[in-house]
Symmetry: D2
Subunit: 329 residues, 4 copies
Amino acid sequence: MTVRFGVLGAGRIGKVHAKAVSGNPDAKLVAVADAMADAATAVATQYAAEVRSISQIEVANDIDAVIICTPTDTHADLIERFSRAGKAIFCEKPVDLDAQRVRECLKVVEETGAKLMVGFNRRFDPHFMAVRKAIDDGRIGTVEMVTITSRDPGAPPVDYIKRSGGIFRDMTIHDFDMARFLLGEEISSVSAHAAVLVDPAIGEAGDYDSATVILETASGRQAVITNSRRATYGYDQRIEVHGSKGVVSAENQRPVSIEIANGDGYTRPPLHDFFMTRYTEAYANEIASFISAIEKGSAISPNGTDGLLALQLADAALASIKTGKRVKP
Amino acid sequence: MTVRFGVLGAGRIGKVHAKAVSGNPDAKLVAVADAMADAATAVATQYAAEVRSISQIEVANDIDAVIICTPTDTHADLIERFSRAGKAIFCEKPVDLDAQRVRECLKVVEETGAKLMVGFNRRFDPHFMAVRKAIDDGRIGTVEMVTITSRDPGAPPVDYIKRSGGIFRDMTIHDFDMARFLLGEEISSVSAHAAVLVDPAIGEAGDYDSATVILETASGRQAVITNSRRATYGYDQRIEVHGSKGVVSAENQRPVSIEIANGDGYTRPPLHDFFMTRYTEAYANEIASFISAIEKGSAISPNGTDGLLALQLADAALASIKTGKRVKP
Amino acid sequence: MTVRFGVLGAGRIGKVHAKAVSGNPDAKLVAVADAMADAATAVATQYAAEVRSISQIEVANDIDAVIICTPTDTHADLIERFSRAGKAIFCEKPVDLDAQRVRECLKVVEETGAKLMVGFNRRFDPHFMAVRKAIDDGRIGTVEMVTITSRDPGAPPVDYIKRSGGIFRDMTIHDFDMARFLLGEEISSVSAHAAVLVDPAIGEAGDYDSATVILETASGRQAVITNSRRATYGYDQRIEVHGSKGVVSAENQRPVSIEIANGDGYTRPPLHDFFMTRYTEAYANEIASFISAIEKGSAISPNGTDGLLALQLADAALASIKTGKRVKP
Amino acid sequence: MTVRFGVLGAGRIGKVHAKAVSGNPDAKLVAVADAMADAATAVATQYAAEVRSISQIEVANDIDAVIICTPTDTHADLIERFSRAGKAIFCEKPVDLDAQRVRECLKVVEETGAKLMVGFNRRFDPHFMAVRKAIDDGRIGTVEMVTITSRDPGAPPVDYIKRSGGIFRDMTIHDFDMARFLLGEEISSVSAHAAVLVDPAIGEAGDYDSATVILETASGRQAVITNSRRATYGYDQRIEVHGSKGVVSAENQRPVSIEIANGDGYTRPPLHDFFMTRYTEAYANEIASFISAIEKGSAISPNGTDGLLALQLADAALASIKTGKRVKP
């Protein structure tokens, strides 16, 4: 079986997914839609697909699945439309910035029985997958503490930040999902601290750029997340899981791994400086997993509920900062 | 000038300090006191010193300074006595488990003008000193976030735990001091989570064995501390400081640094399994710093106030857990 | 301009190059030839190319360049034929196992003015390229010593070894080329030792499985190569260049870079276990360089002379072992 | 039993050994001799020993063992005198620069039944000891290839070089001993290359500053040694042993192991810059081993024959360079 795809949104991430679909032997890119005709045409031409409108894709008989890469405020609507149209849906995170809206949307997904995958790409990074596998294989015993260090090379434009829902819903949300992926239990309380240390303009936009969060589960397992919107040395993405029998960690990745030494010491190059090069394999694996689940009719993961739970943790972190209290998500 | 020493308490840590004094060209070990005569004699013999009682040392004209290594509940009293006796005092942490008692004790220190150093040995670890120097040299710009991972190889006996004041006053207190040492600003709020994951007996003794703490300063700098009473791979002691221009970290230390590779992968030996071998150099440096400060008449650091402030952070962490709130120390 | 390609030989390495051509925006895979019709068809189908015979490709007007991936003993003949046919030629190493035959072949290349690239893929590994760049940028001063560690995960079948020309012409030849690539001077003498330590059957086939070689240049620069046909921990490929101002090294690569620690120590996964996964990027970069050189009309590197010089070093190493002397290549 | 020591020569290395003796609970430093009275007095005072002449030590009844740290050209004579005087002898390497003289000297040692240890301190480095232990424990199977990288931070004065016997007898001799220590078989042939790349003055003094050597055993095991008299990044001392089941390596050591990262990459401090700080533990372990062997009456290792065999390898390396041939030591 070949899964036939439409890609909605031909921007940066749409291109990444279009490439992944085209390179997958079990999938075919049929159509690309974008409000900007040129963008859609460029992608369609490169992969021998057609340019179509979203409405055309919605009713197309030759399309089994869609990948939603349009602006965030269209995600929930499109998920509902394509759920009703009977298509399998891959949607970039988040489903929506408002948890209530997400719940409504997921209700439609449930009612229609649609398959929905949410784009937490980091679950598909080979190194993080290997961490999870080490846990599943019993290599570290019972999970006790998860440490996630997640720092961006640089802050996005303030205009973006204003529309982003804030650092917890935009950036930490990946780490909330990773914490859930690794803790093995649902989170029962959240404590958060945040500040503006990188750029005052971010504070003026009502957001933070530096944050630390503790998550705790009912049995007392703890996760710590450390975020900064700026790391001069590259895209800092580390996880560590401490358990009863040992610890497993995934180191940072760099494009080139040479070392130069002289009287000033030993120097290795900086890390990847961009999430797309850091997570190249993760993006490809993610789409491959979606295609495989459709083909096999197996469960989709991460699904809409995973998207909702991560969002609720973001809301809880924000509430913790505002109230100075530990908050139940 | 040679600084002439009496060591009070000839147990494990007393021996370490007696050796450091003896090996220091600017110091001389004159007397050793211990309630166990054999213990005192053994140390005195090894370093050609005399066995004396604490009272004898208190009035001795040939002793300039004492090192207090007796049980915790005698610390504050001895500090007061030797302050009044005009001796320079090095006291193992903590001054006392009760912050009010510490305040009273420090009042005596202040009134008598005594020199008091508190044994936060980790400030003298060469690797952590190098981290601090990197900060002071401006290598990472303004400090923003401190991450401290501190895990013991194994939990102490439950009997010890009962008398210890609890994980925050006994174990995390070193990390609280290290956070203060690195943050460059006083801490204005504390959030903590803790659980019993390692050994139920610790919980039955009213304590925790796994804890995570966020510390925040007035300007928003944040520190995260992660503690466990058990790390199967050794004595896990790492610090990382993230700043506006970069990050500096101190890696774990192991006694032997070979690597063996075969079909199962690349393996390096575990870490040090004991705080005394991990911090050998730190203990020697600490006493050297004390001797040097006495000789030069320069300020002692860390002093009694440092001891008090770390204890207050421990109390605040405990209060945060009990109340579920961010607590001002 | 689009460079139009024929691939000769649709085996393992032919497939790699066919994929690289197809994925390159400046190239087009037009035809595939293979004595095994099924093999040719499979590759042609996957990349929408035609199956043609070598003779058809030789006279085709719609083909600018060929990639020779046929058996070694056909290389020199095919290079001569396609030189005369006016095609640009990429040929897998070696041109031939006999240096005299290579010289004759390169004469035809020279006379016809054909463009010939020889497949020393390691020059295009991003990490090794970065080592070379560090040298070219003056980061380590004048090159003095090159150390190349090159060990295969496991020995090839003895049947292959019998046809391979021996370890120096088959395996070390890559290291000879790398030494030349990094030394910055031609090699003036060779000393070699070799033994059968891995598998007696290799010795019975007249070859060695373990070898060490010293190369020296006229000015006294030295390179050391260490080879084994078996490394239990994976495909061991390291280079280090020591210079007057410092040293630069390229570490080994592994598919997954996690670390697990427990009472037995810290463990990282083994290295890549296959040259094709280890050098994935190198293969793609190599073909991209060939395409770019054709498009720009710029010099090809590594060329036929590079192929010949590496082969001469292999012959010299063998002569050194037989005679017990330092040999001039 | 307490082993009572005389130290002959109170220079740099004499002080190191005097300290090791003093700090050893099973030994006592009784006397120090030096042609420079001040030097002897300084060491004797520090460790509460006496200043005596070499002749006085020779006949002293209260001295069991001597440590010879005098100039090289006195070593063989002193070994003979103290062998006849019935003292146990630790002698800094080399016994002599002339192999024939060493043989004569060892004859006296044999005839008198004296205990003689030669100061190949690196055998007692904890990391190299762990490498050897890994081999002995069967962790890497049968040894096949040893790689030794040994580079000094900087060249000694040319005056020293003129008296040193040349790079192979002065510097590489440690590596020859290490190769023997690790190979597990005696060496049957030597090929060497050397050049003057660091300082022309070294060449004018008739020596080399950069060398590579291959050693081979009868069964075909190979060792490669790489030497330079100058490494800008510190004292580069690495060993790696490749075997049938795996590989074991000892990494370089640095005094401080922090890492600083910023836009220029990740930087760790340089290595130790002096052999005495690099091998601090090795020197102490070496003397402890000597004391223990005397006390237990067990075999001394490394002994005079080890000293001779390493010297013969140095001579063979030199002969290989002069003749351009593989040389039997």
